[in-house]
Symmetry: C2
């Protein structure tokens, strides 16, 4: 971790750069697995499950019985927490489905948008040490609200062919329609192309390791839509002395535990606070059972001490963080000037983990500066907005000449004739 | 053109396949130009302008004087038509900016979305025979409504270094902030990476030839967002004998004139109508000054005669057309069952060209079946929906346990501690 004071603006881009992962070395491996799944379907998927997850699977789909068994293994505490999270996620997402009114742009010319769910969506949930059942909720709940008919979920099994109970419970509770024991690149291939047992989907969502991310990139070029490009998770914190250094350090560590490529950045105008945060972070890190791992993550972290709050806001907007915690006195005023961020956490009692789990906002968010152009997952991610227009004979009289003049000037004479021929 | 009667469902995908363009042969050329623009900036761009557009350009940016001159060259008829189109596009798009209310998901936990314009967007307008000033309106008008600060437009000059007057006039009228005389791959590279004179943008919009499309694909992987993947334009028409064969044929030809890879598809239950449409299309084609070109395009066209309207609707949804004209008696009932399409044209007086120019809907739409997952360009394309949450001390008491239980079950203990540390 490093404290950097008042760097000149021409250095900002370099100082705010993310750790870059070069995927050129894994590209051909990923492509080969995708091609194989495309041509050999289930047989290939099962071979890769044996190879990568050490699981010999008679059937890829999780059975109803397995789902029932999983439910019996989940504690009532966790069931209650999942239920509260689903409730809050539902409340926040369902109000986003506002359908604009029918507009008569010219007399006799009616135009509107119709929101139609994407028929089949695929959700990828990684395995590994932390079972991300919260991500199941963040993707399946809005898919269900949107009305997606098939909500396919793929997640890797353990070597005994079992899927984590909390993931199965969350999937069922949130509305996934089919769950498969498939991980990694083979899962992305199965959902992108379809196999004998896995339906081809139209859009794939969810996080993953560099192999999964690369597979999503490849299939997104032609075969299927994806939620957004992905990179390591990150948090930025705008802080002043209103917030305790202990809490700011805890927020940094809660990012650091995601992985060694995660990044925590602090922006402040208070040099003393910066020093205190650094001391606290080192103290908490030393006290953690995962101190070696967290210490490595914190190497990507920086605390910027800047002259004034305007610079703080500009630098944060230039960074465009996935998560932005605004822990300062005037958090509302500062928040109002934020133009690039995935999700913003305002005030002294709003940790990032609230949005990760249960406030109701979505935790699938743009990383790596993509927040300059991308939104996090929201209801738009699960619907198509089809435009409709209905023009009466009078309406065509009213805008016919406009269309004809424009078509003629674009040398598209048959476009013009499609109007002319209707006038007689 | 071919009439196909009642094909079995397992043949549909094959019969509805689009002409495929294999870009593997141009990939390395495109990549080389992009790399060159990235490393050498304006110098490289000017070299490619000389090479590909035969234009020696002292300056890349269109001057105010050039814009004024262009305005004096545009007819008052066209000016009026552009003004009407802008008005209708504005009316239809501005009602889409509905910001959902602040939601208190749990007492003390407030969540909301803030719509923030993408700061810098880049619009690409192709050159060639038809000056697509209508596309300028379809991209710049919503960008301006959204509030994008920089609306950069790139379009190729002619060999004298001049840009089409109607494009310049439309760009100025619709709100483009800077216009550059740059075409092809070098334009996409300039906007994706920035050069000495062209600002780097965060999202690139607009159509183009296979080189431009490939360049957009490449830069979209890491450097910049794009509007959507692109393919040749297409129309599907659901028709019965309520509509005249002459008009249906005219609609097919108005698609065919876009290019030899364009596709027109008709779905009907009426075999006699199918034969009449085919005869009319051949007649109109023969009478056209561009008959050779249009005849070639119509080779991609098919008329499907199906047993019943349910099959018609299913097959249209399977095709997922960019444009769908519903020219039949029960157009409203049929339209209600459409789930995959870019833009739908209802009734006897609604040609596709209405939406191409002036009804108010957007004409930048998903082709190649992408309508199964993608929407056409709309206000969402120009904004980010940033989520905010503000939790009070009481709110954290209310959802704190939920967060702690979930974090613990995901083995993310620092996430849990970020809540715990705030409770004291």
């Amino acid at each position: 971790m490093e404290i950097i004071c008042n760097p000149s603006r021409d250095k900002w881009a370099q100082l705010l750069a993310r750790p870059v992962f070069d995927n050129s070395k894994i590209l051909s491996t990923v492509q080969a697995v995708l091609d194989d799944v495309r041509s050999r379907g289930d047989v290939a998927v099962k071979e890769y499950e044996l190879k990568f997850d050490k699981a010999a699977l008679p059937s890829l789909q999780v059975s109803e019985q397995e789902i029932e068994e999983a439910a019996s293994l989940v504690s009532s505490d966790l069931k209650e927490a999942i239920s509260t999270a689903i409730e809050n996620i539902t409340k926040f997402h369902e109000v986003q489905m506002h359908i604009p009114p029918i507009i008569e742009t010219t007399k006799g010319v009616k135009c509107w948008q119709k929101f139609v769910p994407i028929d089949k969506v695929g959700l990828y949930i990684p395995g590994g040490t932390a079972p991300l059942f919260s991500t199941v909720l963040m993707l399946a709940v809005p898919a269900k609200i949107a009305g997606c008919k098939e909500i396919i979920l793929c997640t890797p099994p353990d070597s005994e062919g079992k899927v984590n109970s909390a993931i199965l419970y969350a999937a069922k509770a949130a509305g996934a329609t089919k769950i498969y024991k498939i991980g990694g690149v083979q899962a992305i291939g199965a959902m992108a192309y379809g196999t004998e047992s896995v339906p081809k989907v139209y859009k794939i969502f969810g996080p993953g390791n560099p192999y999964v991310t690369t597979a999503k990139q490849i299939v997104s070029v032609k075969d299927v839509a994806i939620d957004m490009p992905a990179g390591p998770s990150e948090v930025a914190i705008i802080a002043d002395s209103t917030q305790k250094p202990e809490i700011i350090a805890a927020d940094m560590l809660s990012q650091a535990e995601h992985g060694t490529t995660s990044q925590s950045i602090v922006f402040t105008t208070d040099a003393e606070l910066a020093a205190n945060i650094m001391a606290e972070a080192e103290k908490q890190c030393a006290a953690s059972p995962r101190r070696e791992f967290i210490a490595k993550s914190l190497e990507n972290s920086r605390i910027f001490v800047l002259d004034n709050i305007e610079d703080v806001i500009d630098m944060s907007n230039e960074y465009a963080p996935e998560h932005l915690i605004i822990s300062c006195k005037n958090f509302a005023a500062v928040g109002a000037q934020i133009t690039n961020a995935g999700s913003v956490f305002l005030g002294l009692y709003t940790p990032e983990s609230a949005g990760d789990y249960a406030s109701g906002t979505n935790h699938t968010l743009p990383t790596s500066g993509y927040a300059k152009a991308y939104s996090g997952v929201n209801m738009d991610s699960f619907v198509k907005k089809i435009t409709f227009q209905e023009i009466s004979s009078e309406g065509l009289d009213n805008i016919g000449k406009t269309i004809e003049v424009m078509a003629e000037n674009e040398s598209l004479f048959a476009h013009k004739y499609a109007v002319t021929v209707r006038k007689h």
